[in-house]
Symmetry: C2
Subunit: 470 residues, 2 copies
């Protein structure tokens, strides 16, 4: 009996252990699967990891090969540490950290040595006290400077390195006489580490923060255009209700959320981009700050699209004939809006200033006006008091349809949100125009980009249609 | 003559130099003024700076006093470095960095020593190659793990420290025989540094990330309520046009922007908060993630408020009598909406679950219904075709006012945006309810908070009024 009990117990423990291990393994498996997906979808991130490995191996190699080495804490460490701490995904971030690290170390080092010299003139006892007080004051001041927005954006890391180096020099300087030698060693290893980082980051598949920002902004603009189109099409159900259940379509409609949520990444990329040298089509002093304004204008517009998508799910149904009547005008406005956005995308993609954009904006405004006119013309066709249906029926000469006011509320909302969206798109246009002026975009020519030409052809057709109608 | 020329030149240089220095000084002065303002408006940041100074002085003192010290690169450095790098504004961020630093160092250190031992068995030549390959592989893998969102949120710094320590041990281990001594020194100094940081950060005026997040969320909620009130009041011009020029009022109306823009800070604070021990009213496993959901629901609502504020500036004027007619219903709905928000603020502030909120939500929904009813009742009073004014005038028995449809569009938009805002506020209510359940908020009692009682009294009055009207 006892044997059986023990057997059962052991078997139970075995089973529990087995399920525990199985769960653990499946969890790890899922984690690895996710990691694989991430790597497969963004191969540049995998390349970045290999770059870090290369940079570290280079630094290690340097120390394996040469007899430069003098002790753990000496020089080897600083170069390795610099590479690990300073190597970032984008070139801009790496440069920002390298320059900040070098400057912070240099400033704090020379200040520390100066202070050490002054303090050493006043006897050993005073030296410790003076050094302690200075560490306190300078560390507090440098920490405070990190809260000031303009410093935080550009020199946050530098301020930290300043505190670090100054404290180290003060603490070490109290005991070590070979201060200058140490300083020299540290500077040379930091130079070694930063230069390895900069070269690896710039020469092997560089990821430019500026380029990423540029891509992010115009991709978000594309997504905004897609979701605007999607929302209005969904509302007027042009292609039947089947579309809304389509997964891809739903994803497209949610595109405005990307524009709404990318503020933080835009800001950090703009901060890093200004440290980057000229690359691709971008000069050294490319107006990166203007991208933030474009991003803000886009968020402003995306907010309206989000409200519009909220109104789409409204309970109140618009009468069918009203929908038919307005769907064309609304769809035209929304397609003009998204055309303007797409023209801006082309402007940014090709970095050429197209005169087409102004024309498209005019057309968009014309479509807004058309919509307003359609609204003004509306009463002739259909609105009449809810309570007095029979009155209107009697008055057959004016051929009035009867619609209660409440049923036109969703339509009115859609219309005014669309007008508001058009107004806000003008804000984006202005921001992109400013960018084009600041960055000196060249005027678009026929040969310059096939893509822009493509869009232009399509636009011309539409323009002709509109003009024929007028 | 020549003398005069020289004199003039010297004078010119002197003047230019003077203006240059004056400009430089005024720039520094402005910077200092800004810094002073920042310090005066947020004294806790100044205290944080002093805390950093204290922690650094403590570490330095430790090394000035005790003869523990053995060389620059030895132990002193690691403690100072730990304090500078690890000390952050909030307790949560400091703890996150301390725990990550300690864990990363420990893992990488023991792995490094193990690898070193295995490699050292295979001869000196192979050792360097094996160490180099391992540094490459592990550094790449750890760098990749930093891209995985779940790791990035919790262990980003730890992964970096892992790479750093492993590389250092590999590089150093190749030459240094006193590896264990070095490891022991490093661990003991890191323990010293982190414990000084943790104690300074937790004992002297601690800034808890969790508390900050809690405050941020309910302050944004208050601002949202204010700006909703402000927008609707502005629209219906209850207090005349003078108000809109009032600076404070304008600032209040822009309050929704705080809710829109605080996603990044919410996320980082929620990440840090979960490292914090129990503090104030918050337990160790307080559901910080739920705050992010509340924040998202608020942003959702703020988007609608932003569209509403856009519509307010619309060109089209609503007819005066229509405005009069609807201003009361709309103002009532908006004040119900902001009352719900304020009740949620009280719930969060006092961390007590009030049954009043459900009642207020019902009232809000009732107000939405009222607004719909007012809309439904509208045609009896006023809407009629624009083009057939005379028809309606002739039909004097039904006493119809005549308004073109286009003039009711802004009103219709306001109404449907208000309804949408009410619906989205319900989303916020649900998120706060979930928080109350997850965090185990106690039911509110009369004695518990005067403030909540205060609000309740005010609410009761309004409730009675509404009920009397019904």
């Amino acid at each position: 009996m006892a044997n059986e009990k023990v057997c059962g117990f052991v078997h139970g423990v075995y089973l529990r252990l087995q399920s525990l291990i199985a769960r653990f393994l499946s969890r790890i498996w899922r984690f690895l699967e996710k990691a694989w997906e991430l790597g497969a979808s963004e191969p540049r991130k995998v390349i970045h990891c290999l770059k870090v490995g290369v940079a570290l191996s280079l630094v290690s190699l340097f120390y394996y090969m040469r007899p430069l080495y003098d002790g753990v804490g000496g020089t080897a460490m600083w170069a390795v540490m610099t590479v690990v701490v300073v190597f970032e995904y984008t070139v801009g971030a790496t440069l920002y950290k390298c320059i900040n690290r070098a400057t912070g170390t240099f400033l704090a080092g020379s200040l520390g040595i100066g202070v050490h010299w002054v303090a050493s003139q006043s006897g050993e006892k005073f030296e410790a006290i003076i050094a302690g007080i200075l560490v306190f004051i300078l560390a507090s001041a440098a920490t405070f400077s990190r809260f000031i927005p303009s410093i935080k954006a550009r020199f946050d890391y530098g301020a930290m390195i300043f505190i670090l180096t100054f404290s180290l020099v003060s603490v070490a300087g109290y005991r070590v006489e070979k201060l200058f030698e140490m300083a020299h060693n540290r500077v040379s290893t930091i130079v070694l580490g930063t230069s390895i980082c900069i070269f690896t980051s710039m020469l092997i598949c560089p990821v430019w923060a500026g380029n990423e920002l540029h891509l992010l902004i115009y991709r978000n603009m594309e997504k905004l255009a897609d979701s605007l189109d999607g929302c209005v099409a969904e509302y007027f159900n042009r292609d039947g209700t089947a579309k809304s259940s389509n997964h891809d379509f739903g994803k497209k409609m949610q595109g405005y959320k990307c524009a709404l949520n990318s503020k933080a990444s835009e800001e950090s990329m703009a901060n890093f981009a200004r440290w980057e040298p000229a690359h691709g089509h971008f000069n050294f002093r490319h107006p990166w700050k203007q991208y933030l304004k474009i991003g803000a204008a886009m968020r402003n517009c995306a907010c309206c699209v989000e409200s519009l998508s909220g109104c789409i799910n409204s309970q109140i149904q618009i009468p069918e004939f009203l929908k038919k009547n307005f769907s064309e005008v609304c769809m035209r406005l929304s397609s003009h809006c998204s055309e303007v956005l797409r023209a801006l995308v082309v402007t940014m993609k090709t970095m050429t200033k197209s005169s087409m954009t102004d024309l498209l904006v005019e057309e968009m405004n014309f479509a807004v006006q058309e919509l307003q006119n359609a609204l003004k013309a509306l009463p002739n066709q259909l609105i009449s008091p809810h309570g007095s249906v029979n009155d209107a029926k009697g008055d057959t000469t004016s051929k009035q349809f009867i619609v209660p006011v409440i049923e036109i509320v969703p339509l009115a909302t859609t219309i005014s949100l669309l007008s508001e969206i058009a107004a806000r798109i003008e804000g984006i246009v202005d921001a992109v125009d400013d960018l084009a002026d600041l960055a000196g975009f060249k005027p678009a020519t026929d040969n310059k980009s096939k893509q822009s030409q493509c869009t232009t052809d399509k636009i011309d057709d539409e323009t002709m249609k509109v003009l024929q109608k007028v």
